[in-house]
């Protein structure tokens, strides 16, 4: 178990990172989230990083990994709330987070997840017809 709580809201999982993460905690969160996606049959994962003062290459890799693993498990990940100074630093660091969807805040993130899931379901229904 990681010390970071994972909340379930409908078919989405919500994680709000409120602590300065050491590397083992980041790895534990990655493992916990992957298991919870399967156990809760989650379709969406939202990670709120508004409290994070930095994102270095290790945390960036964790976000990339979570997004990739949730994609394989048929769930969509959105990272929300990145601080402007963190975004500027990430780009200069060379980390583009290409595989990770981002939204400005929790509201926009939920709307993004909803629309992606709904689109996918519509496509499925169309195919089955």
């Amino acid at each position: 178990m990681s010390e970071i709580p994972i909340l379930k809201i409908g078919d989405c999982l919500l994680v709000s990172i409120q602590v300065d993460m050491h590397d083992r905690l980041a790895m534990a969160l990655q493992d916990d989230l992957t298991q919870r996606i399967v156990a809760d049959r989650a379709r969406g994962v939202m990670i709120d990083i508004s409290a994070l003062e930095i994102v270095d290459s290790f945390i960036g890799r964790m976000l990339n990994n979570i997004a990739a693993m949730s994609r394989v498990l048929d769930a969509v990940t959105v990272v929300v709330g990145m601080r402007p100074a963190v975004a500027i630093t990430l780009v200069e660091l060379g980390l583009a987070l290409t595989g990770v969807r981002t939204a400005l805040n929790v509201d926009k993130g939920l709307a993004m997840i909803r629309s992606i899931i709904d689109n996918a379901e519509r496509a499925d229904a169309h195919r089955d017809r």
Binding site: H22, I54, D56, S57, R61, G94
Partner: protein
């Protein structure tokens, strides 16, 4: 150039990496860095501190607040007695990693710094010095 304050911290575990981030932040705030400049030097410190712990087998960090006329800066010196880096030019390449990382640690930290230097002797350890000025 004057050294206004200095402190030395141990770097053994990933908890120490978190403590280093907090200590560097405090010094950068004290030197009057903007939020973006604080974030850049703290991120660079996090990358190199992790290298010291993961690849150098642990070591120490010296944090110094510098003054050069009206300019203030923060200089970080990471020292370990680990296996050293056999090919520094290769280690500084984006995407090169000897471990399981993204290979952005050294090259990224260099981009986030105004001054950056590595000395390393195979078998004797590595010293990374970086500085950022306000």
């Amino acid at each position: 150039m004057l050294i206004e304050t200095g402190e030395t911290m141990p770097l053994r575990t990933s908890d120490d990496v978190v403590r280093v981030r907090q200590a560097v932040r405090l010094r950068a705030v004290g030197a009057g860095f903007s939020l973006v400049d604080q974030t850049k030097i703290v991120t660079a410190a996090s990358e190199i501190a992790r290298n010291t712990v993961d690849y150098g087998g642990g070591g120490v960090l010296r944090i110094e607040v510098l003054r050069d006329g009206r300019r203030q800066g923060v200089r970080l010196t990471f020292t370990d007695q680990g296996p050293g880096i056999p090919d520094i030019a290769l280690a500084l390449k984006d995407g090169y990693t000897s471990g399981g990382g993204l290979g952005l640690g050294l090259s990224g930290a260099k981009r986030l710094s105004n001054e950056f230097a590595i000395t390393s002797a195979p078998g004797h350890g590595t010293t990374v010095t970086l500085a950022r000025w306000k």
